[in-house]
Amino acid sequence: AGARGAGRPVRIAIVAKSLGNGFFNAVHLGGDQAAAAIASAGGNRIEVIFTGPTNTAAENQIDVINALIAQHVDAIAISANDPDALVPSCKRAMQRGIKVMAYDSSVAKEGRILYLADATDQQAGDACLDLAADACSGHGKVAILSATATSTNQNSWIAAMKADLPKHPGLDLVTVVYGDDLSDKSYREATALLQKYPDLAVIIAPSTVAITAAAKAVDDAGKTGKVFVTGLGLPSECAGAVEKGTIKSFAIWNPVDIGYAVVEIANTLVAGKGGPGSSITAGKLGPIAFDADGNGTLGKPTTYDKSDIAAAAKLF
Amino acid sequence: MQPILSLDGVAKSYGGVKALTSGALDLYCGQVTALLGENGAGKSTLVKIITGIVHADGGTITLDGKPVVIESAEHARSLGISAIFQEPVVFDALTVAENIFITGRPLKGRSVDWPTMMRRSREILAELDPSIDPAMVLGRLSVAQRHLVQIARALSNDARIVIMDEPTAALSHREAEELFAITRRLRDEGRAILFISHKFEEVFALCDRYAVFRDGAGVGQGTLQGMSSERLITLMVGRPVDQVFPKQVVAIGEEVLRVEALGRCLEYENVSFDVRRGEILGVYGLIGAGRSEVMHALFGTAPAETGRIVLNGETVSIRSAQQAIAHGIGLVPEDRQRQGAHLRLAIGDNITLPSLGRTTRGGFLSARREREQAAPLAEQLGVKMSGLRQRVEDLSGGNQQKVVIAKWLATAPRVLILDEPTKGIDVGAKAQVHRLMGELAAKGVAIIMVSSELPEVLGMADRIMVMRRGLVQGIVPRSEATPERIVKMATDA
């Protein structure tokens, strides 16, 4: 950061898991809002660089980080495709004076200064299970359709759900399958679930690709109203299924807020302040506390259903 | 009488290569016209022009007294022209019937009429070889049968003009005779026939007229009556050539190679013979008699399953070409383009390939040593080239064959197997190859020469082994060999 000449803006790079994902576009939007807010409050001029690979491969994200290092950006905020593989390049970025933080999906501790989680794993897991229990009135067979078998946050949410199952004695978790974040594979896996468990009540899909594919599969199988889909997804992508009734309700955190907080936090880091064990004020969002490992949480996920989906779908 | 087809001043170049400069040719109904010329004289190019496969750069073509431009193969067919090409035009994966009607399939509306195609194929094949089932996949036929299918194709569309580009190059005596009978019948039906061949005895036996090309230009045509082969050759090459096979008398030494009861499933069995220092063993038979297969067994590229090979008194096992080369055996294969030459590599690289061990040191190439190895051989064989770095692709067929022979001479073989060494090459090149065989024999090399040309076998070989359907019918010494006896052994059970 010392290399920054006078008058040059602070350049904060927001790296998405993959480009073209509505979630990250909303993060970008929030980041731009924060940059404008900071500037109008008389703070640094901030340039937000929004970038990322086109698919969710870790190597491609490394290439993106290398390019950002070469551009001497001031801060990198990343939603990691792989918590471990990115560590070496993130370390290198930090060696070259770049502040690295993670959001949404973490890089292992040694690869970043701070991690801003959307919500705690517990909160996400709880939300999914509660929604599932809600959909089937507390009794029935439940299956999980996840993204790739290697995606960190999905796996920790699934772990949280499994830990929480005793709280919902009526729910019977029959299996966990993986759609690899590919719509055709997710669709096929969902169809297989319907065939294999004819009395299935709920499919929990904690990924936006999976939840839409599962909803489509349930709909195509003519099981709307018999099998419910729930989980985590973007309002804009789930809107159709919610209208139809395939999805009664689902949850998601607010990506605009995440982007907003990311830029505020990164800006603080660039100024040489903040760090693990501190509390950073994220503008209008208020203070966010980071523990000694540098983990902080933005807040609980929000639940959407037929009543408020239309409004949310316009946003992200 | 007016010619049905007449070509004048026809020219064609490929890039910068002038294949034809002023081709001239007249074809008459009810006559067989022979087209003669050295390799590369432009004969096949002319055929391609007449059949619409390539377009002439200049000159005029007159059909029935009217000038025509032959646009495409389809157009040529509609004009009543059909051809048996020099290159095999066969489709292994298709049925015999489709191969016959590959151009002009019978149609019903716009869809292919399979039943008619089968029926007509069966009719045409009935007189050629009734044992061929038109529904069979062509790949399952023998070599001779494949030739018949191509002949059947030329007959299938009732053409007025039938062109045959070296149809006998790969045929044996008996099959050639069958073809001649058909050709005479076509002639008597009033068709015009163009017959291209390098074999003068065929030309004199079959043809009524001749036309000679030299270096892409027509240098004379007329009736064959009163012409001698000497005069034709002089026309072809512009100088007289010694056409007689220059058999050298060589003292025959001790046995070099002996095979005993070689056999391979379905292909041949109980094949035994020997060959001595300085001897040329001719191997004669009809196409598909299994001669090449036996040669591949000696060379290790298709090892025999039974029997043994004895080299210089020791039983050896030869299971690959490397082993054969290490034992001092060389093979000039029958299929020059596919098995013999690397067309896209330089002449020098071709010549040194089987003997790379000699020109490299510790696996490293040496341009100087390669040149020292290849240059004298290329010169000795009279390869017409611009240099050792020229690609073999750019050479004429005869010169390609010389390169293939040179590459085997470079290995200094003790036994040299030549499978159809003069197939499709012109008289001049042929004489050179024969002279070379004599010289090699004189140096003590044992030579096995597979040939389907009876005069060549009779002229060159010290002993002649005759094969028929995978079995050795006998080995005849030169002194006892007569054409009748050899042909009878090759054809009769």
């Binding site: 480009l19 073209g20 994902n21 509505g22 576009n25 086109t54 698919n55 078998a149 590919l182 719509s183 055709d184 669709y187 096929r188 169809t191 297989a192 065939q195 294999k196 004819p198 690709v209 839409t212 594919a213 489509k216 992508e237 809107a239 159709g240 779908a313 | 059949t51 619409g52 496969i53 193969a73 051809a83 090409f85 290159e87 095999p88 035009v89 066969v90 489709f91 292994d92 994966a93 298709l94 489709e98 590959i102 151009t103 399939r105 149609l107 716009r110 869809s111 292919v112 790949g139 023998s142 499933c265 379905l266 292909e267 041949y268 069995e269 598909g288 299994g290 297969e293 359907r469 079995l471």
Partner: protein
């Protein structure tokens, strides 16, 4: 005709059919419901896209080419028609269908022209256009996804239309298979396609323009891929950059298992359909039979490798008989 029936039994297609039935029989004890008509219709529905693409790929393989760009073509065309539908939902289905076929054909024609006019090996051409078309999806959409709620109802409904218990998607695949089979068996151009691939240099002498044949194959393959673009996007109700990424290799695998020779001139529609179904059965059965998701890929790998190995055994030329048959 018992003899021609016997001959039919010995064909590769019959063997493949047997293999497919065997596979179904092996699955039955684990999961009997898989053999219910509804499940089988679902299997066909799920394999229809693979069948369609494999039919196009087969034409290219027959002419000794290979088309690596079909999946990218599918993604590009699919995205374009999805965007069209999103912004002009009132247009109805016909323009979407026409556009998808035409655009796919145009993308195929680019491949075909480069192969035909410039004689660039098809693997090189389609390796290049694979990247270009895939990138074009991103450029066309700005990386955005088009989701089901952004698609018009008729856009989504068409492929799901049920006729006689079978979806429209399956019917399209069946119709396409019949058309390609008729084209290859009955039309002059179809037969020329085989000849051109079987022996290109000989085809030249037979007056068959090998380049035009290659071009036609790419054109048709492209048109089919374009149609599949719409079908895919509509079936999975989503369009994004990575749609069907890497699918081209599965398509080639289906062709090869179906007996299409990579060196041209050999292959049949029946074989290709059975080859695609073979892969489809495996893909659909593995999750059902309860193979761990982590083992599914390895199992597919073993099966595909095994199938191509067995296939190669079958195609090896046997020795020509030279020796006369003698009474035993």
């Amino acid at each position: 005709m018992p003899e021609s029936f016997l001959r039919l039994l010995r064909t590769r297609e019959a063997g493949l059919l047997g293999l497919n039935l065997l596979l179904l029989a092996a699955i039955a004890p684990f999961f009997p419901a898989f053999l219910r008509p509804g499940s089988l219709a679902g299997l066909l529905d799920d394999t229809a896209l693979l069948i369609l693409l494999a039919l196009g790929e087969m034409l290219v393989l027959l002419t000794r080419g290979v088309d690596l760009s079909i999946a990218a073509n599918l993604a590009f065309t699919g995205m374009v028609v999805a965007l069209l539908d999103q912004y002009h939902p009132g247009l109805g289905l016909a323009p979407v269908l026409i556009l998808s076929v035409l655009m796919g054909a145009a993308l195929g024609a680019v491949n075909g022209l480069l192969v035909w006019r410039l004689r660039i090996p098809s693997i090189v051409v389609t390796l290049g256009t694979l990247s270009i078309y895939r990138g074009a999806v991103y450029l066309a959409s700005g990386g955005r996804w088009v989701n089901s709620n952004q698609m018009s109802p008729q856009f989504l409904a068409f492929v799901r239309l049920q006729l006689g218990g079978v979806s429209m998607l399956s019917w399209i695949a069946i119709a396409c298979a019949v058309l390609v089979a008729l084209f290859l068996r009955r039309s002059v151009r179809g037969r020329d396609l085989y000849a051109a691939g079987n022996n290109p240099s000989a085809a030249l002498y037979a007056g068959i323009d090998v380049g035009v044949m290659q071009f036609s194959a790419f054109l048709i393959a492209g048109a089919i891929a374009g149609l599949c673009g719409y079908l895919w996007v509509s079936r999975y109700a989503v369009a994004y950059t990575d749609v069907a990424s890497g699918f081209e290799l599965q398509v080639i695998a289906a062709c090869v298992i179906g007996g299409v020779s990579i060196s041209g001139g050999v292959g049949s529609v029946a074989g290709v359909v059975l080859g695609a179904l073979f892969l489809g059965i495996i893909k659909n059965a593995l999750p059902l039979v309860g193979v761990s998701p982590f083992f599914q890929m390895a199992v597919s790998g073993v099966v595909i490798t095994g199938a191509v190995l067995i296939n190669a055994r079958g195609t090896q030329a046997s020795a020509l008989r030279i020796l006369e048959r003698r009474p035993a």
